[in-house]
Amino acid sequence: MSLIEDIKNGYSRKKLWKRLAVLELKSRYQGAVIGSFWIVLTLMLKVFMLSLVYTMVLDRDFKEYVMFLAIGVLTWNFISAIIVTSGTVFKKATNFLLEMRLPHSTFVFQNIYREVLSLIMYQLFAIPLVIILKGWSFVSIVWLWALFGYVLIVLNAFFINFWLGWLATRFRDIQPMLSSVIMIIFLVTPILWPPPAEYANSLYFQLNPFYHLLELIRAPILHNEIPVLSFQVGIGLLLLNMAICFAFYNRVKNRLVYWL
């Protein structure tokens, strides 16, 4: 089976991975009064509290900063969740994979679908927030580019999940490393703080792929701009991630079960 067949066969099991993803999401909030709404509530609390503090620290306009933070944080939440959960994507499916032969992509689809559902819930908070703060006149056709941006981020996430999932299953040092690395990336990437205008074009930001992934969403929504360079970086990253998956799939496909 090639990677393409794996993805095709995995996709055809969509009832399975959709159900698993939904049950996983529900079971996280099992017994909680407001259930899955916590996904949105935690984001709202985070954005509100951070906005209070950082508008003071950074001396920014509250309205502008809240929007910058909300869009950045929700996109970052998706990216970081994908990277951190990559480490367990196959490990969690041990019981299934040791019982029958299933396409690897089944569990990648499950992981991505679950996080996309969370992302959609985040939007239920973020989009109305922007409209409330700026009014309907702020909504623009350029926002569609943010939608393309999300498609590009999700595609990247799909392939990263594959290879990072394999890597973390084979090498047990990866999983504990991921959480620390993601925290460092969070602090060095402009998520809480907008890049200072005089350094916006510096290599420090331009070489950070995460900055570009965030700009795919922030530039169209907040500045009504199409981030051409960020799209180029996003497509480049996608090709790289796909190349890694294609290069290693044949080596990994029969071995993954031994590493679980």
């Binding site: 099991r13 698993l20 019981n95 299934f96 071995r255 031994y258």
Partner: protein
């Protein structure tokens, strides 16, 4: 016509070492343990085979090779017919989920159509007599209830080859009789069953042949009674040696 054939199969089990090690002594990397070397086996239509052997003889590994979960390093595994593998692990997959949800997941794992799953689930609930308990999380089930649910999962089966490893406890007598009747009917339509279980009572009920394996080699393959007596004899000798 259904069959399972293993020709010249070599297989090593790979695993991560125990949790000992750490800061001063590395425990990284994969270890390898040879389980089968030039292993040959042929199972044909109508065979209901019990896999016997002490713990660690290679029974579960053999079933996983037959199911296509493990790919051998050398040799050929050929099968004909739709395979249903049940290794008794699914019960613990999502213990926080209800029995009903676990059944649904099993149906989806087998890639069955939704309407068929729903119909089958109703049938299973009635057969296993789990009643309202089907809506409770599996983590709250008693051993007997878990056995019933595990058996219920088997009822989805529509396969030519059934591979079953442990999982099925003896359960209560009443249920066991019902289950036997069901399995007998099922086996009339399915063609091959390979069943690994430590309960001689279950094995005798469901199987007509047996394979005794020890340290990755077939000691005996044939009529169930003959193999069981050999197995008991070997166990007796092993106990005396101790």
């Amino acid at each position: 016509m259904a069959y399972i054939t293993l020709k010249g199969v070599d297989f090593s089990y790979r695993y991560f070492p125990s949790i000992s090690g750490g800061l001063l002594k590395s425990n990284s990397g994969l270890k390898s343990h040879l389980v089968f070397e030039n292993f040959n086996l042929e199972i044909n239509d109508g065979d209901r085979v019990a896999l016997l052997g002490v713990n660690g003889a290679g029974k579960s590994t053999l079933l996983k090779i037959m199911a296509g979960v493990y790919t051998p390093e050398q040799g050929q595994v050929s099968t004909d017919g739709k395979i249903y593998s049940f290794f008794g692990r699914s019960i613990g997959v999502m213990p926080q989920l209800s029995g009903l949800e676990n059944l649904e997941i099993r149906g989806l794992l087998l890639n069955l159509p939704s309407t068929f799953i729903q119909e089958k689930i109703e049938e299973i609930i009635e057969f296993t007599e789990l009643g309202d308990a089907i809506y409770r999380p599996v983590s709250t089930y008693s051993m007997g209830m878990k056995t019933r649910l595990t058996f219920g999962m088997l009822m989805f089966v529509e396969a030519d080859i059934m591979l079953i490893d442990e999982g099925l406890g003896a359960g209560d007598k009443f249920f066991l009789e019902k289950a036997q009747k069901f399995i007998e009917d099922l086996l009339d339509s399915s063609k091959i069953m390979v069943f690994a279980n430590h309960s001689m009572e279950l094995v005798k009920k469901f199987c007509n042949k047996a394979i005794l394996i020890d340290a990755g080699e077939i000691v005996q393959f044939g009529d169930i009674e003959a193999v069981i007596s050999r197995y008991n004899h070997l166990r007796h000798i092993a106990l005396q040696d101790k």
